[in-house]
Amino acid sequence: PEEVIVTDITINSLTVTFREALVARGFFRSWEME
């Protein structure tokens, strides 16, 4: 998918990165194998 939104979220000094796409195909590995 062209647009992937990347967001870092920190709680109790642990920062994790979230990536979100509008569609799953081309974004989720597991959807490639279908």
């Binding site: 979220i9 642990l14 990165t17 989720f28 597991s30």
Partner: protein
């Protein structure tokens, strides 16, 4: 690096009216992310997507949109579907890796549901 988790994130079918939130979200994050991180992420996305016209948005003294300053992991509750039509509330401190192993146990994206936290 921590392994990656793919998850499909939908409004809770029973607790959320479809006018409130209708968007299914396709999200990837690391396995060490907790349910709290996920609900804080959702609160941030909703606040951003509400935009300046969002009901609770307002400009704070430093110019940061009020809605973003109030974003917290308490605003939304996260659920997983266990049996046909049954939903379990996920504790905020659980990591998504644990949710995957303990509740989901399937080799496909983790399906989670969200709804505004009840006591608000």
């Amino acid at each position: 690096p921590s392994s990656e988790i793919e998850l499909i994130f939908c409004p809770h079918p029973l607790l959320v009216g479809n006018q409130q939130y209708s968007q299914t979200r396709y999200v990837k994050t690391t396995a060490n992310a907790t349910v709290d991180h996920l609900s804080k992420y959702l609160a941030l996305r909703v606040a951003l997507e509400d935009g300046p016209s969002g009901a609770q948005a307002g400009r704070s003294a430093e110019g940061e949109p009020g809605a973003l300053r109030d974003v917290s992991e308490k605003q939304f509750t996260i659920y997983i579907s266990t049996a046909a039509g049954q939903f379990t509330t996920l504790n905020g401190s659980l990591t998504l890796e644990l949710v995957n192993e303990k509740f989901w146990k399937l080799c496909k994206p983790l399906e989670l549901y969200y709804a505004p936290t009840q006591d608000q």
